[in-house]
């Protein structure tokens, strides 16, 4: 299952020969080229403006970090606090193809932060076994698009370990992290959002952060949670999202949605990058339509916080759910049916899903594929004019 990585493959090769001066120079040059090409291609992706999260109370000392650094910081805390903690996956030893594990191997040793062979089912199986035998495990799948070879290990094994043994064995100390979502030019296999595939699996927890503070707090909660967790990281935010993040141990609760903007007319629910799109839509709706939107970041896909959403919809009477993944059986379907069940008497218009189309994720058509702010804005219009 060799990932074809336009950006990162040169990095991989070069790093192998890092002991040569020329390679080292080349490495630095190519690395900056990669960054440039990221910035260049970003112009084609959905436009959204990143909205920083508020620094939490009692956060202690804080530092400016991008999403990658916040994740590194969370893993750093986990490695310090529990000597059994392991970090592994493809290319994590040199810092990861997205630079999320930079410096960890040097700080904690190559027996705790290490490369595995290129085999996702192996990574998942190895991780489950290590967690079952008492280690705390943070395993990385290089792209969420490549998590499918590990589907059997995650669905049939990790998720059912505790249940099938009557609680005698578990792999609750396991967390799998994986970059997900649109990135502007990732096409079919570097853009997917597979959360709904896993949302159908009792026993798993699925979490997606919207920025650095969230990433740190939620990842640490996943690592410390006693259930196997999958943590999807919107990779377009890795470098573009920067904010003040607590440097120490800091937890955010799982299975709790967060109301980011309060409003009275329409409830907008999303997660990951899409939360920023929805926040902009709320502004547009206020400005152009005088419509007040309530924006909710779901944060945890499974088990999800239906109460916060139902409470909001009981107030607004209208619900729009938006995600990058294809619409048919995307997680919006679950939210929509649950909310119509809970809020039937409060609903004033049909629940709308503004999602990716039921196609594979395309390369040059990405701007037309994504549920961008204009598509969401149109949905708000429809909702209030119904």
């Amino acid at each position: 299952m060799a990932p074809i990585q336009k950006l990162t493959d040169p990095l991989r090769k070069i790093v192998k020969g890092i002991s040569l001066t020329s390679s080292l120079l080349k490495f630095q040059k190519r690395f900056s080229e990669c960054r440039m090409s990221l910035a260049y291609t970003r112009r084609y992706s959905t436009s959204f403006s990143y909205v920083s999260s508020k620094v939490p109370d009692n956060a202690g000392e804080i530092k400016r970090m991008n999403l990658c650094q916040a994740l590194t910081s969370a893993m750093d805390v986990a490695l310090t606090e529990d000597p059994t903690t392991l970090v592994f996956g493809e290319d994590v030893a040199f810092g990861g193809v997205f630079r999320c594990t930079v410096g960890l191997k040097d700080k904690y040793g190559s027996d705790r932060v290490f490369n595995t062979p290129l085999c996702e089912q192996g990574i998942a199986g190895f991780a489950i076994g290590a967690a079952c035998a008492g280690a705390r495990v943070i395993a990385e799948m290089q792209f969420a698009d490549y998590i499918f070879p590990a589907f059997d290990q995650i669905v049939n094994e990790a998720a059912k370990y505790r249940y099938r043994s009557g609680g005698q064995f578990d792999c609750g100390r396991l967390t799998i992290r994986s970059p997900c979502g649109a990135v502007g030019h990732g096409a079919v296999y570097h853009s997917q959002s597979p959360e709904a595939f896993f949302a159908h699996v009792p026993g798993l927890k699925i979490v997606i952060p919207r920025g650095p503070i969230q990433a740190k707090g939620l990842l640490l909660s996943c690592i410390e949670d006693d259930n196997p967790c999958i943590f999807f990281e919107p990779k377009i935010l890795y470098r573009s999202a920067i904010e003040e993040v607590p440097i120490g141990r800091f937890l955010l609760p799982l299975s709790q949605a967060e109301v980011l903007i309060e409003g009275n007319d329409v409830t907008l629910v999303g997660w990951g990058t899409q939360v920023h799109v929805l926040q902009e839509v709320a502004k547009m709706a206020e400005e152009h339509l005088k419509v007040s939107c309530e924006v909710i970041d779901l944060r945890t896909i499974l088990p999800w916080d239906s109460e916060t959403v139902a409470k909001s919809v009981s107030k607004t009477g209208r619900l729009i759910i938006s995600h990058e993944a294809p619409v048919t059986l995307g997680f919006a379907s679950e939210i929509a049916s649950k909310i119509q069940e809970e809020c039937f008497l409060n609903l004033e218009c049909p629940i709308q899903r503004v999602c990716g189309y039921d196609t594979p994720f395309p390369h040059v058509f990405e701007p037309f594929y994504l549920p961008d702010k204009w598509k969401c804005f149109e949905a708000v219009k429809k909702a209030v004019n119904y």
Binding site: G122, G129, D152, S165
Partner: protein, 443 residues
């Protein structure tokens, strides 16, 4: 900054050179490998391959490696089919007490298989899988492990459970899914598990336990607990992608795990000729860089010796070992299978009669004067009685509280599951007559 990094690198390469030279002196056999992994240190005039991915010499002869021409890996054995030790220095010299336990556990397993197989045929339990013919491979290997070594199994390892002290009550509770089943009646029969006995709960998907065993071994090695991990699987399961993952991860990450393949000739109806083309599973071990041995699985002492030696390699050198135990699946694959459809009954009978692990150990014991026909008759009677007692006891027990259906999905009970539990209870209370509530502990 850059200059400092470079200086560091130069220093490092010097250290590497020093270590390599030292090792070459000590172990000339591995000189070639070291030269390869640090190819830049090689004399520039020397005409040797400098590819990072292999440890070879050049050849000017075009020649494919032809596996079909190679003789198979030999089968290690200690006793011949008449129970005679061939090379006295290979006799593990186990005490009468240990050997008697080995024999009793093998025959207990055999009797238990007969009774539970028949009970499935009568519809009293839903499913069963016997171990006929593989009793020696299971118990011989189990006896060589430290009782605290962690075991991952496939499903045909009931003998390992018995050896470690799994009680007949525990077997029956699991097969019946009684209120005393530690697995809470959630899995099919034969999916045993026991943290007290360090045997991870069996699951149906084949080979998934293999990379897990490698990961557990890695955790054990870091915990420096002096233990290893042992992982059983069949030759059919070895065709799964997870087997490849497990072998490769275990080797590259230096995991102290013993992989024991029970090569019994069949995966349900599929003979090994349809399963692989190479020399069995053992021939793959070398390809992954694992120490490997093929053993006569019907020879309990050969299994014992091989497993004990493998354990030493694991624990002392922190590396994986592959044991391929050659044996024969005498029984049907499971109670859902009739093997006469794809193999001849007489052929099975002939193989089982000619080469049987239980019979072989009995001959050894009789030779030593440790066992007689009288003891045999008494033990067969006693063990059957014990099994039937445990069986009837389990049959009379209630099943667990149906609330259990919702527990242990997560460590905690999430709200949506608590709601579903309440809804199920309300519903069943309203329609009680349509549900088998009397067989279950009430809620």
């Amino acid at each position: 900054m850059l200059a400092r990094m470079l200086a560091k690198l130069v220093l490092k390469s010097r250290q590497v050179k020093k270590i390599v030279n030292h090792e070459v002196k000590l172990f000339p056999a591995i000189a070639c490998r070291n030269r390869l992994s640090t190819s830049r240190l090689v004399d520039a005039n020397e005409d040797v391959p400098r590819f990072a991915g292999c440890r070879s010499k050049f050849t000017n002869k075009l020649q494919f490696i032809e596996p079909d021409l190679k003789e198979g890996i030999p089968v290690y054995r200690v006793m011949n089919r008449s129970g005679k030790v061939q090379d006295q220095s290979e006799d593990p010299q186990l005490s009468q007490e240990i050997v008697t336990k080995m024999y009793k556990d093998m025959t207990l397993l055999n009797s238990m298989d007969q009774i539970l197989y028949d009970s499935q045929r009568q519809g009293r339990i839903s499913f069963y899988m016997t171990s006929y013919g593989e009793e020696g491979a299971q118990i011989g290997s189990a006896a060589a492990l430290n009782p605290q070594d962690l075991i991952f199994g496939q499903y045909r390892e009931a003998g390992v459970f018995l050896w470690r002290g799994f009680t007949l009550d525990e077997v029956m509770d699991q097969c019946y899914g009684t209120e005393d089943d530690k697995g809470k009646g959630k899995q099919m029969p034969v999916h045993f598990g026991s943290p007290q006995l360090h045997f991870v709960t069996i699951s149906s998907p084949l080979a998934t336990q293999m990379p897990q065993a490698a990961g557990a071994a890695y955790a054990y090695k870091r915990a420096k607990n002096g233990l290893c991990v042992c992982c059983y699987f069949g030759e059919g399961a070895a065709s799964e992608g997870d087997a490849h993952a497990a072998f490769n991860f275990a080797a590259t990450l230096k995991c102290p795990v013993i992989f024991i393949c029970r090569n019994n000739g069949f995966a349900i109806s599929t003979p090994t000729a349809d399963q692989y083309k190479g020399d069995g599973v053992a021939s793959r071990g070398e390809g992954y860089g694992m120490n490997t041995i093929r053993v006569d699985g019907n020879d309990i002492f050969a299994m014992y010796n091989a497993t004990r030696a493998a354990r030493e390699l694991c624990v002392n050198e922190g590396r994986p070992v592959l044991i391929e135990a050659m044996t024969y699946r005498v029984g049907d694959h499971s109670t859902s299978d009739d093997s006469t459809v794809y193999r001849l009954k007489d052929e099975v009978k002939a193989i089982a009669a000619e080469d049987n692990p239980i019979h072989r150990l009995r001959l050894y014991m009789e030779d030593k004067g440790w066992w007689s026909q009288k003891q045999e008759d008494e033990w067969r009677l006693e063990s059957r009685k014990k099994i039937i007692q445990a069986f009837s006891k389990a049959e009379r027990k209630k099943k667990p509280n149906p609330e259990e259906l919702f527990l242990d999905v997560y460590k905690e009970l999430p709200k949506h599951l608590a709601d579903q539990m309440t809804s199920m209870k309300d519903h069943v209370n309203r329609y009680r007559e349509h549900y088998p509530v009397d067989n279950f502990k009430s809620f």
